[in-house]
């Protein structure tokens, strides 16, 4: 079902009047700027541009205000959860989350229990994935990404091209500016910084988001570095400068997973980490963005408990709901899941990026039976969700405007305050009827326009 609102009509009226030959300018821009997305497929490294569609997702002012309240609330609760789980563990003692869901997860890092993050902030940059349900007309949270959420640079950089190519749209429509993202990052750095400069730590050129690492460093006034630029001395992190001097580093916006951060504390064969970085962290001399061990909060099994966290830590009712989710680990849920497998979406909690997602409706009888056996053997490993009939939004494919399923990733920056960025990454599935919009599954992206009040 196609999402429709008055603003889309205004957009199309204006868009029809534009010179469509200028659309080619987007591809030129992406080529010139090197806006690429790298993929591993069959062990081959492919650098490709991220398909872009010029028809934006449009969100009305009141709708954005509602989303902002809900996302701020959710991130506040997730941050409280992380501080608790690496501290007093009250939510487990209170019986709200069964210990198995925390301690049985590989993402929980007990070696860092008791290690406080500067300013008690752990969720510096969150990317929360939402879809708008066409049945209830409500936004639903599909996923919380609290480790290294990527993608903000795509809508950010394309916005600049958009303003240049189609300035009239920006004169006639009250589109909220999105170019404050760099400022949101740099003021957050300042708030959590125990002393020193800020760096964006990238694994290097072969990473799928390398374009983004450089872009974010530039707009947030940070240095782009790889591990060989950094070293630890006496529990302080330094950058080696070109003239041989050392410069103290206080903030590391790390774009690599925990496992690779420090070969002394995590994978000992990591060649992209900084040895003893964690001693600097333990000493409180560096803020790591996001904090170490956050993976436990975006575990798909923990997702089920986020509404309960909001009630527990904040004493509030959740403003935004989860997609209806069942945990086969609970006996009642397991019974329901096994009886309704053919209409549910089953996700493997250990997978991400659209991998390990099975649609019951598309499986054969044999596949359903295999999956049921798998769930019975390892109930903790799976979650089941109702299939959400989320909206299609108008999308240009081969010159035609057609409906395509789209989700939305919104970025929330947590410094002194929790702020939802008035922009976002809208991803769409390229084939009709496909529900998987992940870029690693070949989906494309759109800009997200928040309308001013």
């Amino acid at each position: 079902m196609l999402e429709n609102n008055a603003t889309y009509n205004q957009f199309f009226d204006l868009f029809q009047q534009q010179d469509h030959a200028r659309l080619a300018g987007f591809d030129d821009f992406m080529q010139r700027q090197g806006v690429t997305f790298n993929l591993y497929k069959n062990d081959q490294f492919i650098e490709q541009t991220f398909p872009f569609d010029a028809i934006p997702r449009i969100i009305a002012a009141d709708e954005f205000a509602h989303l902002s309240r809900g996302l701020e609330q959710r991130v506040g609760a997730l941050n409280a959860f992380l501080n608790d789980i690496y501290g007093e563990q009250k939510i487990i003692k209170a019986g709200i989350i069964p210990p198995d869901f925390v301690f049985g997860s590989k993402a929980y890092l007990p070696a860092f229990h008791g290690c406080r993050a500067p300013q008690d902030i752990r969720t510096h940059i969150s990317g929360l994935d939402l879809v708008k349900d066409s049945v209830s007309n409500e936004w639903l949270i599909l996923e919380d990404n609290l480790r290294v959420p990527s993608g903000a640079s795509y809508p950010l950089s394309i916005r600049r091209a958009y303003r240049q190519l189609f300035p009239q749209l920006f004169e006639k429509m009250p589109i909220a500016p999105s170019d404050n993202y760099g400022h949101l990052l740099s003021s957050m750095y300042e708030h959590v910084n125990p002393g020193g400069i800020s760096v964006v730590l990238s694994p290097g050129r072969l990473n799928s988001a390398f374009y983004e690492h450089g872009y974010l460093a530039r707009i947030s006034d940070a240095r782009l570095v790889t591990n060989s630029d950094l070293f630890v001395d006496n529990n302080v992190l330094y950058l080696k400068s070109f003239n041989g001097k050392r410069i103290r580093v206080g903030v590391v916006y790390r774009r690599l997973d925990d496992d690779f951060l420090d070969p002394l504390n995590f994978h000992s064969d990591s060649m992209i980490g900084v040895p003893n970085l964690m001693s600097v962290y333990r000493a409180g001399n560096v803020a790591l963005l996001n904090a170490v061990g956050n993976g436990i909060a975006d575990d798909k099994g923990i997702y089920y408990f986020v509404p309960k966290m909001i009630r527990y830590y904040l004493g509030e009712e959740p403003i935004l709901s989860n997609a209806p989710t069942y945990l086969p680990w609970f006996e009642d849920d397991r019974k329901f899941v096994l009886e309704n497998l053919h209409k549910l979406v089953i996700k493997d909690v250990a997978e991400a990026g659209g991998y390990g997602v099975l649609f019951g409706s598309k499986l054969s009888q044999q596949q359903l039976a295999d999956l049921a056996a798998h769930i019975q053997a390892e109930p903790r490993r799976f979650i089941a969700q109702e299939l959400i009939e989320f909206y299609d939004i108008p999308t240009q494919v081969d010159g035609q405007i057609v409906p395509r399923k789209s989700d939305l990733r919104m970025y929330i920056v947590h410094g002194k305050d929790i702020t939802v960025w008035a922009g976002g990454l809208t991803r769409f599935a390229r084939e009709a009827g496909n529900y998987l919009v992940n870029s690693s599954q070949g989906g494309g992206f759109k800009d997200t326009w928040i309308m001013g009040a």
Partner: protein, 252 residues
Amino acid sequence: MTLAFNAPVRHHQFMLRLLPRIASGIVVQSQQLMVTGEHDAGRFYDGFSNRLICGQAIEAHRDFHVSYQAKLKRATPTKQSSDMLTAVYLAPSKLTQCDAKRLSSWLELPSIYDNGMALAQALSHLVYQRMTYSTGTTHTEHTVSELIDNPVGVCQDYAHLLIALLRYYLIPARYVAGIAQGEGQSHAWVEAWIDGLWIGLDPTHDCWVHDKDPYIAFAVGRDFSDCPLNSGAFSGNVTHTLSIQAQLTPSS
């Protein structure tokens, strides 16, 4: 402790778990730590309350020494409120995970027992009987699943198997890395959470830890992978050998 390299290394970053755990019913009366080329190493606690020594030896060196002398006094263990929920020691961990059905069909596990202590002792005895001690046959990443196929190994393997068994009976169990008199090298054993106390069991010697004084624990964790005594990174393409010399002298 001595790390001997076959060629000089530089920029040696280290993280050591070589200080006695204070939480385990031991009082430190006096102590002195010496690390090669470094007298100001950072001291921290990890999440398991293990003491960490973190630092770096920048200049080229072939040998790296850490010496620690302390006068320790054993205190009467009191009921401890565990810092971290003991449930963390119930979940299957990387090296102790195995199929519960395989485990129970492999061993004749007791179904009737008087109490937690009796059960723990029976399980430790079972491990001692089933395992064959042999050095050089296993590596540090050896899992309990592999032990079921081939029950041969060293103290680390004995400890992992006992941990898996205790957890099977829902008794929180943790790995202990340390030294015991007579071993000379590092040793590994197990602690089980019974009636609000961590009770030490040494399945390699089929005994309670408190029967065979003195055992000194350096690190505890879910399994061996949480308890490396020595982690390091350095520049130089070299191999190294680690030796730990421990001497425990009971005071008169």
